[in-house]
Symmetry: C2
Subunit: 151 residues, 2 copies
DNA sequence: CGATATTGCTCAGTATGCTGACTATCAGTA
DNA sequence: TACTGATAGTCAGCATACTGAGCAATATCG
């Protein structure tokens, strides 16, 4: 371990740091003010209408205490609605609004361009390899974080 | 882009999330209370005695506004000392303390074990491939974040 | 030398992400 | 049905990260 900057942990942090910066830049240039986390939540709510917060958190591997704030901000922006579940009075059902749908549609090109930019130093094959290895490492470590993916 | 969870940005976030959790668990089990960020800063200060905050930030790619708090906490724990530079009255020179040196020495096995755990789903060759691809992608995107690496 | 630009650091504000604790509610069982 | 445990959500507190602003000191250049 000659260099601390060569450790997996450091590389993970750097890659995430760049990924977020690229995402915010692309989406910002397109005229939107949405974070990667907010985007993933919004897209998942659209794909799973009426889901509750815990389920949403599991689908994108967020902590349940973090998702509260994310949902607050999405609702504040008018992109989603949060209403009490008729079946479980503890739960809240999440629904995307028309405005949320419109935003999601218009933002998609910027999001996709950001994904390409993040790996712009790699060939297509290298990018695919990277994603495959990341998926494999993540699958093996899924239960190690407080907010694992739940399908 | 069938699944949002398959996008590079999401994989970056997940891998980082697991890396931090593994680091904190290993280091915590060893009896220490140090974050990945604090560890990297401490190790870099030890390797570059008397460096100033901006240089430190550049060496580990932290934002200059973030490093203030990290240094505060390291100093609070007695692991480093921060004193005015005699050459530049704006700058502060950072120095590791004996306590910091001791902590760094005792914590190293846990840190290394954490690095292995992060990629425990991968073969040795796969882990090496992953790190090579991450390094390459990061090198190409270095200037895209507000806190690039500066050597 | 003096005006200007740059640099080192800090601060306020916002957004993740986590720990741990708490309330309200639901589910299973004795 | 009453007790017990689990679950949905929130909150306070702490630690990264970043934006943008500002202050003090240094560097640069006409």
């Amino acid at each position: 371990m000659k260099d601390n900057n060569d450790m997996p942990g450091h590389l993970a942090r750097r890659f995430q740091q760049i990924a977020v910066a690229v995402f915010l830049a692309e989406v910002g240039d397109a005229g939107f003010d949405l974070t990667p986390v907010q985007y993933a939540a919004l897209a998942t709510i659209k794909a799973n209408p009426g889901l509750d917060q815990v389920t949403l958190a599991g689908l994108i591997a967020y902590d349940r205490t973090t998702i509260t704030g994310v949902i607050d901000r999405l609702a504040q922006k008018g992109l989603i609605e949060r209403r009490a579940s008729p079946r479980d009075r503890r739960a809240r059902e999440l629904e995307i609004t028309d405005e949320g749908r419109r935003t999601l549609r218009k933002i998609t090109p910027a999001v996709e361009s950001a994904q390409r930019l993040m790996v712009r130093g790699l060939s297509a094959k290298e990018a695919e390899d990277l994603m495959r290895l990341l998926r494999k490492a993540i699958a093996a470590g899924n239960e190690l974080s407080r907010a694992p993916l739940r399908e």
